[in-house]
């Protein structure tokens, strides 16, 4: 059965919407496969606008991995802006893929990647536009299997009603395994319908199917237990971990959009995972262990990727890029190789030390030295011990001195507000730190017009971290603390004018907190917000705190709960957390000990260069740390 493109209907709407190019597809390196030549078909979605979703590495990788397989096709879909949504509803145009404009409902699997919980309302919009029932229980075997992935999927409970399943961890191998299960089921004539397919996925232990688990509650609203409701379904679902990144050199042919997007560069993931142990950082906790791509593997990906795309910038991505064991050789090797070609190199996520200035200098040999960014995260030495961000003020001052001395003109410092045990004083010390940075900068450069920008946002406790038990600071208290900091910076006659202050208010953080640590009952809030018109919650101009709070007040009292119960309430050791049955490999007792250590201001070293501290991941997931150095060098390319 062939599926027709909806492009003719869509095309008539495009002259009436903003930036129509984002809906037409045709990106360089995109793949359109013959529908009938494939027996398993995936629609992959990043639930945000095209300009944000297209550069997403996760979707790009899965798109390529799936399309490389014979008999499998993958197409992409993104959230449409409200102007097009309205026209699509009026003219009955369904949610479509940009590759060949097929209706999403025609695919076998609808995979949605959640980097953040703020995409949940956009999931509901897409399902509804696709004509797929919002509630998983209402779907028939004619509807796609809706699968959630991405970091937010490590607690999929708030969207448990709306998805058929969730996969946690690295997706590369997981999507191929799922594909084989779907293929076999279809080839056998779909025995047992949708239920059987979901059961086959669930019994692997690597796919979480919410409807096969019952959640039981205590009288006070806490969870008493989560139990499989049919035999053969495992008690806990494991995350997926890909070992040896050199075997997965994706994306090989990155998509090059015609529309302008947020990141336009050749991104290479130089390693996955992080064991720095920052206690607030969910990404660092759930992506363990560290697995490096080799220097030669990186060199090859950059070379091929640049040839395939024509991008003018290379981004070396990871959670803490300067921690690659051969980062010095990588940076120098790439800078040498592309010196003539006007290729910019960037290294996001670097840590605070002087070595990074050398690296940054190397990467900007012929470029402008405008700004360097560091993330001390906490203003006081004490709070940095609490969060295990091992940066001393001395390190920071030494680092910025080197930066200003090397011609950098501006330093940006990132912080969080509302960290566990934090007081006003911890935050006010940020102002002191900034003035010291300026003073040092003026001293080493001999100039007065250097800048330091302080950027600060509210902390949101996340599942699978030592802070998963912590109370979140209320929006009011967060805002009050930020205002005190602003007043202190502004009130500084000598240095205040050299310090920029940027902050995110506490309100979006409360909604993110509700969704991050929510359970299945929070699904009612999400649905109410969607029905009330909530869309694009990651966008300031669309996000409405009041709408979220009104909808929560309408829905949560039925369970005897409120937003504070999910956000500002501290959890105890005994409490069953909504995500306990999703196994990130981290031992819950180890997380608790780390939480207690945090309260004692005790730091933990990185297991890459100190003995294992037993977080539990490697033995539980049968994985290991994979790092260099390999001792190899990046050779100049012989043929250019």
């Amino acid at each position: 059965m062939s599926v027709e493109s909806v492009f003719p209907q869509l095309e008539a709407l495009l002259p009436h919407v903003q930036k129509p190019i984002q809906y037409v597809g045709g990106e360089l390196n995109s793949t359109v496969k013959e529908w009938d030549s494939c027996d398993v078909r995936w629609a992959l979605m990043y639930p945000d606008a095209y300009e944000v979703g297209l550069p997403n590495q996760g979707v790009m990788i899965l798109y390529e991995v799936l399309n490389e397989r014979e008999g499998v096709l993958a197409e992409r879909t993104y959230s449409v802006w409200p102007d097009l949504e309205e026209l699509m509803r009026e003219h009955k145009v369904p949610q479509f893929t940009v590759d060949s404009h097929r209706p999403v409902s025609a695919f076998d699997v609808f995979g949605v990647s959640f980097s953040t919980e703020l995409g949940y309302t956009n999931l509901l919009t897409a399902l509804d536009l696709a004509g797929i029932p919002l509630d998983a229980v209402d779907r028939t075997e004619d509807h796609p299997v809706v699968v959630a992935g991405g970091h937010a999927a490590f607690n999929p409970e708030p969207i448990a009603d709306f998805i058929d399943c969730a996969v946690i961890g690295d997706g590369e191998q997981a999507v191929l395994d799922m594909t084989e299960i779907v293929r076999a089921w279809k080839a056998e004539g779909r025995p047992g319908g949708r239920d059987e397919l979901l059961f086959r996925l669930a019994r692997t232990g690597g796919v979480y199917v919410p409807k096969f688990y019952d959640v039981e509650y205590l009288a006070d609203g806490r969870i008493s237990r989560v139990v499989p409701n049919r035999s053969g379904v495992p008690w806990r679902v494991s995350k997926h971990t890909v070992m040896d990144l050199d075997e997965w050199p994706y994306p090989k042919q990155p998509l090059v959009p015609l529309a302008e997007t947020v990141h336009e560069r050749m991104s290479v993931e130089i390693f996955r995972g992080c064991t720095r142990g920052c206690r607030f950082c969910q990404a660092g906790m759930i992506t363990r262990p560290v697995r490096e791509r080799s220097i030669t593997g990186i060199g090859e990906m950059v070379d091929k990727g640049l040839k395939a795309t024509g991008f003018e910038e290379v981004g070396l991505l990871s959670l803490s890029s300067a921690d690659h064991t051969e980062i010095g050789d990588i940076a120098k090797g790439l800078a040498d190789r592309y010196e003539e070609d006007k290729i910019g190199l960037s290294l996001p996520s670097t840590r605070v030390d002087a070595f990074n200035i050398d690296l940054a200098n190397e990467l900007t040999r012929n470029g402008r030295r405008s700004g360097l960014t560091f993330a001390p995260e906490g203003g006081s030495e004490r709070i940095r011990k609490v969060i295990n961000k091992m940066v001393s003020e001395e390190d920071l001052i030494r680092t910025v001195a080197t930066a200003y001395g090397n011609g950098w003109r501006q330093v940006k410092l990132y912080f969080m507000c509302g960290l566990p045990t934090e007081t006003d004083d911890d935050v006010l010390q940020i102002a002191d730190m900034a003035t010291k940075v300026i003073a040092k900068g003026r001293e080493v450069s001999g100039k007065n017009d250097i800048r330091c920008t302080v950027s600060i946002g509210g902390f949101v406790p996340k599942p699978h971290t030592p802070f998963q038990w912590a109370p979140q600071l209320s929006a009011e208290e967060t805002d009050a603390r930020l205002e005190k900091l602003r007043d202190k910076i502004r009130g500084d006659k000598k240095y205040g004018r050299s310090i920029g202050f940027r902050y995110h208010d506490g309100k979006p953080g409360i909604v993110e907190g509700l969704l991050s640590r929510g359970d299945r009952r929070v699904g009612a809030v999400i649905r109410a917000v969607y029905e009330d018109g909530g869309r694009f919650d990651g966008w300031r101009e669309h996000f409405s705190y009041d709408r979220w709070m009104e909808c929560a007040e309408r829905t949560l009292p039925a369970f005897g709960l409120d937003v504070d119960w999910y956000t500002t309430r501290e959890r105890t050791y005994e409490e069953v957390l909504p995500w306990d049955h999703l196994d990130s490999g981290l031992d819950k007792d180890w997380l608790w000990e780390d939480w207690q250590d945090s309260l004692d201001e005790t730091e933990v070293e990185d297991c890459r260069w100190t003995p294992c501290f037993d977080c539990g991941v490697c033995p539980q997931m049968q994985t290991e740390i994979q790092i260099g150095p390999t001792g190899r060098k990046l050779l100049p390319l012989s043929v250019k």
């Binding site: 495009l14 190019i21 360089l28 015609l258 302008e260 030295r369 450069s445 920008t453």
Partner: protein, 284 residues
């Protein structure tokens, strides 16, 4: 609300110059004609610029760059068609640091761009003022579900008027101007129905002078609505067919690359040098 405008501009501090020699000078200029076809007509001009500059990189074209910390490839674009309209006749000029055979370059760049953004012509620039030669455009406007008779009546009414006031929303608010004076020629033709039962549709052929303020096809459509109540039920499909010097008598537009082509034919010596210069690269 607490954000403070960050200080911009050059500070004397850390004023560095790029290391190394200045960029290589341009030795040749090539003029290209390109299209925006099919769904890629929704490409904005900025989108096209990015796509073209990436295509230059992929095709390893020896394009000249400006000096400084953020070098830009030396590409001049002329008079781009609005987003959403197709075009068979867009023009640009690139400067090269090594001479290339225009046709070889055209084929290479065309292959490097997505289908729909096609490079259809290339000549070595031998004359000044390509932009000055783009005096008028020929547009084809397809009006689905509009009968040729209705379109014909509207065209007649439009042409009869001395001035046709139209409004356009610009960045600076609503602007009112005359859409009539710029129109050198406007005709309606029938397009035969593709399928039985269809009533067919009308095609407008428009020749418009490039004046200030620019009169675009949708301004003429607004004018047809204003003078004759012509209101197409579906958005018009608009394509630029040609740009060039306007022959007022015949109402046609001449190929703006013709003077360069003639100059090359009259003095092919450079072309011979060019071939010689390229010889060491063999099959390139």
């Amino acid at each position: 609300m607490f954000d403070r405008k960050e200080v911009q501009g050059d500070s004397p501090l850390g004023k560095r110059q790029p290391e190394g020699p200045p960029p290589a000078p341009a030795v040749q200029r090539i003029r290209l004609r390109y299209t925006k076809r099919g769904r890629l007509r929704f490409t904005s001009h900025r989108d096209f610029q990015r796509a073209f500059e990436r295509a230059l990189r992929r095709a390893e074209v020896p394009v000249a760059y400006s000096a400084g910390f953020t070098p830009h490839p030396k590409v001049s674009y002329a008079n781009a068609a609005p987003t959403g309209t197709g075009s068979e006749a867009e023009y640009l000029e690139i400067q090269l640091t090594e001479a290339r055979d225009p046709e070889t370059l055209r084929v290479l760049l065309d292959a490097s761009l997505p289908a729909g953004l096609d490079i259809t012509d290339a000549v070595e620039a031998r004359t000044p003022g390509l932009a000055d030669r783009l005096q008028a455009s020929v547009w084809e406007i397809r009006l689905d579900q509009v009968s040729p008779e209705e379109a014909g009546r509207a065209v007649a009414a439009f042409l009869e008027a001395d001035t046709v006031e139209v409004e356009r929303r610009t960045k600076n608010g609503l602007r009112t101007f005359d859409a009539r004076a710029a129109v050198a020629r406007l005709e309606a033709f029938p397009l035969r129905a593709d399928r039985p039962g269809d009533t067919g549709c009308a095609i407008l052929r428009l020749v418009v002078r490039h004046l200030t303020p620019a009169v675009r096809p949708d301004d003429v459509l607004s004018g047809l609505r204003a003078t004759a109540d012509l209101a197409p039920p579906v958005p018009a499909a608009v394509t630029r067919l040609a740009q060039g010097l306007l022959d007022e008598e015949s109402g046609t537009v001449t190929d703006p690359l013709a003077p360069d082509r003639e100059a090359v034919q009259a003095a092919p010596s450079t072309a011979a040098e060019l071939t010689a210069a390229m010889a060491p690269e063999g099959s390139a």
